[in-house]
């Protein structure tokens, strides 16, 4: 295809992505290093006879408007927003580093800072859910693959539901069930014979519930992909292994899993990207008191009466940096593969 033809074919999609993905990223970066102007204040002395003179501080509307017009981006603050208490909290962390003697004290201090709390949950969620989804998905795929043909269709149909359903709605459905008055909540209370047990009340249990939701939501994705991979298993290799006396487990370990390895990489990549942006379950589970994620952090800044764009932008930039770090190994590998091909 000639360059010019390619250009015209690709133009609409390129324009959409440039305008609504690339530019917003740039504008997010800009917003994170500029803060909105505060109003210009002037002191006016008002004198009334008999009472005397008082100094009053008022907003100079004209000067404020002029300032905002002359520098529409706002005040340049550099990395201040990144370093403030709501984000990386550099001075607080440095202070704690100096003052706390033990590691556990330092970690506890960190967990009081909102951004580090969100970070801790996001990373825990990402790195627990991703491997769990892969293992659980693989187990389901192996089990379903040896079912009767007519059962397979049924299981696949219902398996798709948790994955296809809107994350917020899926989270709500589970949340209502684990409510202390819901069926799972009641069942848990009965199991541990503690009638006051509430998953909503404890941070640890809330984290576990969110992680269970994450696995429930994404396992079907891994399952479908591994199941498709199992359909192309090299039967001759499996039979050869069997003749050589390999047990069932050994066949899975040494034939099936290596065959599925590229798919595992793919699922891991997609899951890392998706779990890092965990957000809807926190809204659905109403869990902000116990667990916040970076995406929830941004959402919280943007919503409400005061839209804190600068703060949200700084969190966004930090998220983008986080995503890039996660993706970097994959990108480097793909690039090397590509170079090797040409």
């Amino acid at each position: 295809m000639r360059h010019s033809t390619f250009f015209w074919f690709f133009l609409p999609t390129a324009a959409a992505m440039l305008l609504f993905i690339a530019f917003p990223i740039l504008s997010v970066v800009m917003q994170s290093i500029y803060a909105p102007h505060s109003a210009v204040l002037i002191e006016v002395e008002t004198c009334t006879p008999l009472v005397g003179c008082t100094m009053e501080t008022t907003v100079d509307q004209e000067a404020t408007a002029a300032l905002r017009a002359s520098e529409p981006l706002g005040r340049f603050v550099g990395l201040d927003i990144f370093f403030d208490r709501g984000h990386l909290a550099v001075s607080e962390v440095a202070g704690m580093w100096r003052d706390t003697a033990t590691w556990s004290g330092f970690v506890e201090g960190l967990s009081n800072l909102p951004f580090y709390r969100a970070m801790a949950f996001t990373l825990t969620f990402t790195f627990v859910v991703t491997p769990a989804v892969i293992i659980f998905g693989l187990l389901i795929a192996l089990a379903v693959n040896s079912l009767h043909a007519w059962l397979k269709g049924l299981v696949i149909f219902f398996s798709l539901l948790p994955f296809v359903v809107t994350p917020l709605i899926g989270a709500l459905v589970l949340f209502w069930m684990i409510d202390s008055r819901g069926i799972l909540g009641t069942a848990l209370q009965w199991l541990v014979s503690d009638p006051d047990l509430s998953l909503k009340a404890s941070t640890g249990l809330m984290w576990i519930s969110l992680i269970v939701y994450g696995i429930w939501h994404a396992a079907p994705f891994a399952f479908v992909i591994f199941y498709a991979g199992l359909q192309t298993l090299p039967m001759d290799q499996i039979e050869a292994a069997e003749i050589d006396g390999a047990t069932r487990l050994q066949r899975i370990r040494y034939v099936v899993i290596p065959h599925l390895m590229p798919l595992v990489t793919f699922v891991a990549l997609i899951q890392l990207m998706d779990n890092f942006r965990v957000f809807e379950p926190i809204v659905g589970f109403n869990a902000a008191a116990h667990a916040t994620s970076i995406s929830w952090f941004i959402f919280n800044d943007l919503g409400g009466e005061t839209r804190q764009l600068s703060s949200a932008s700084a969190s966004s930039v930090l998220t983008i940096i986080g995503v890039s770090i996660l993706l970097l190994p994959v990108l480097v590998r793909t690039w090397n593969d590509f170079k090797g091909k040409t």
């Binding site: 690709f10 959409a16 709605i169 498709a228 943007l302 764009l309």
Partner: protein, 293 residues
């Protein structure tokens, strides 16, 4: 295929069936339970007295004379005008799917038919864009949209959702197009077609399965979106998902949680039907990316 490798001892078979059954219950039960409970009153759905009330609907019987009531649905659809959110959702989904398929097929076709280095770079860029959480972009939209006075409108949200869907759409269509032999459009060009005519009259007719599958995923992305629609739509243009979230904000205080339950079930129903009819396409779409990517 039905060799000895497939034969399993009874214990293993029981284990396999047990595990598959357990997963089946895990996947299906929450939805069935919620759908059943949505026809009850709140005191049955969240039963303090006895959990079996949720099944038998004792309180619902006491209040309405029958174990089922449509009070939750009436409250949500009529009193809270949930039907408007449903209409908004389908308008937005329709235009998102149409637009992203139109520009996506053009772009994906171009990517699959060009062998220059920049196609690879473009695909990797799309992958990076795919990794960006949409909520991080929303912070960048706010200021310009307020300034241009386009915040809260449906067309704005449609364009944003189309753009956010593009990386995924491109990857998927790209891999579908690569499965179509290049000789097909080469020979059309030899016969005197321009590249666009070859695309329009030769490629598109054989592309429908791929286009439908990609369209399904575009639909799901638009339908399931919460971060963008919650932030960019004004109250009267809201789609279902942000409306459900809004119900929660008000209903927890009013004690009318059944509105939220009814709207959740209403929003799940179209997806249920979708999976029923397009199960094959969804599975093939999911695996397409894996096999190629």
């Amino acid at each position: 295929m039905s060799s000895r490798a497939r034969k399993q001892p009874l214990g293993l078979q029981i284990l396999i069936y047990g595990f598959a059954g357990l997963w089946l219950i895990m996947a299906a039960f929450p939805f069935l339970w919620t759908a059943w409970g949505s026809f009850k009153v709140e005191l049955d759905f969240f039963s303090i007295a006895d959990w079996t009330y949720a099944l038998t609907g004792e309180r619902t019987k006491a209040e309405y004379g029958s174990p089922f009531t449509d009070a939750g649905y009436k409250g949500a659809w009529i009193q809270e005008s949930f039907y408007r959110n449903v209409i908004n959702t389908f308008i937005i989904c329709f235009f998102v799917v149409c637009t992203s398929l139109t520009i996506g097929t053009l772009g994906g076709y171009a990517l699959s038919r060009s062998n220059y280095r920049y196609t690879f770079i473009l695909l990797i860029t799309a992958l990076i864009f795919r990794a960006m959480p949409p909520i991080t972009l929303v912070a960048g939209y706010m200021l310009p949209f307020f300034q241009w006075n386009v915040w809260g409108l449906m067309p704005t949200t449609i364009i944003v959702l189309v753009a956010i869907n593009q990386p995924f759409t491109l990857w998927m269509l790209h891999s579908f197009f690569q499965n179509i032999p290049k000789e097909l459009d080469e020979s059309a060009k030899v016969d005197g077609c321009t590249q666009f005519q070859a695309f329009r009259h030769v490629i598109i007719p054989v592309m429908w399965p791929g286009v439908i599958t990609t369209g399904l995923f575009s639909f799901l992305l638009a339908y399931n979106d919460f971060a963008v629609t919650a932030m960019l739509l004004s109250e009267e243009n809201r789609t279902m998902v942000p409306q459900v979230a809004a119900f929660l904000g008000t209903t927890y205080t009013e004690g009318n949680i059944m509105f939220a339950v009814a709207s959740v079930v209403s929003a799940t129903a179209p997806l249920f039907i979708l999976v029923m009819f397009f199960q094959r396409q969804i599975v093939s779409g999911l695996t397409q990316g894996a096999v190629k990517g």
